[in-house]
Symmetry: C2
Subunit: 161 residues, 2 copies
């Protein structure tokens, strides 16, 4: 079980975008250069964020990406789902319907999920809730607490570039 | 983010093994036939469970697999980790060390994980704890509650086969 690498990239780009001036759009190439990331691949992640409304983009010489809504309205779950999809980690393929297991049948006609599937669903829900409780604003505030120079550094770097 | 399909297979095989007589070993081909699963691939999953001590195997005409310890001592997390590995879903590749981000540095020299990594770690921990709170005995009891005929059906099917 592995989240796509782009989740880390996208989360940090959202944090950085929360620090640039609201009227400033940042090009994918600049967002990528800040971390030495491959720009074309990051651009794909940014477009996925765009489809989820997490960033908005505009084309043209002054175009680029900015946050699509306030950083306090974007959760880490939003970012993870935009990049990695929102399917559960555990996929029940319903093996209990097959072969002799299927011949056994069940009083409820197997209408309710089995115990294994339910256990994974409840774990999955806890995972999602935890990520949904963390906003980009929270994450940015934590970075700022650990490194007070970060917001200005980021803002000026993107202003100059 | 997707758990390997073998996790579902392995969990159900552990439940079934909890219902066969303790002195009876069940061959991979029989465990597979119960759900119409490909035997060679299930055998790989069973060997992974064996390496984790979740099942024990013996060779020979009366050989096969049995639980390696009591079903109340095997958690769904044990099974998931044996089949899917125990790495966290989120892999921090440390992009903040690269490029201009790396030049910024941090007062703590980046010795502590960043906020993104910490948020995923805490979600991951909740996921693991939830799965670690569910034993094969719990899962088997739930199946039995939903389908009281299941344990005897399974036991007799493996006795006959």
């Amino acid at each position: 079980m592995k989240l796509r690498e782009g989740v880390e990239w996208a989360a940090h780009c959202c944090i950085n975008l929360s620090w640039v001036a609201p009227d400033k759009a940042v090009k994918a190439a600049r967002l990528a250069a800040f971390y030495d990331l491959p720009a074309a691949y990051l651009n794909k992640q940014l477009n996925a964020l765009g489809r989820a409304g997490i960033v908005s983009s505009q084309s043209g010489p002054r175009g680029g990406f900015r946050l699509g809504r306030g950083p306090e309205q974007i959760t880490l779950m939003d970012v993870a789902a935009a990049i990695d999809g929102s399917a559960q980690a555990f996929l029940c393929t319903g093996i209990r319907h097959n072969g002799p297991a299927g011949e056994l049948g069940a009083p409820d006609g197997y209408r309710t999920p089995c115990s294994v599937s339910r256990a994974f669903s409840s774990a999955d829900l806890l995972w999602r809730r935890q990520l949904a409780a963390q906003t980009v604003a929270d994450l940015a505030a934590e970075v700022r607490r650990a490194n007070p120079a970060a917001p200005d550094y980021v803002r000026h770097w993107f202003d100059r570039n």
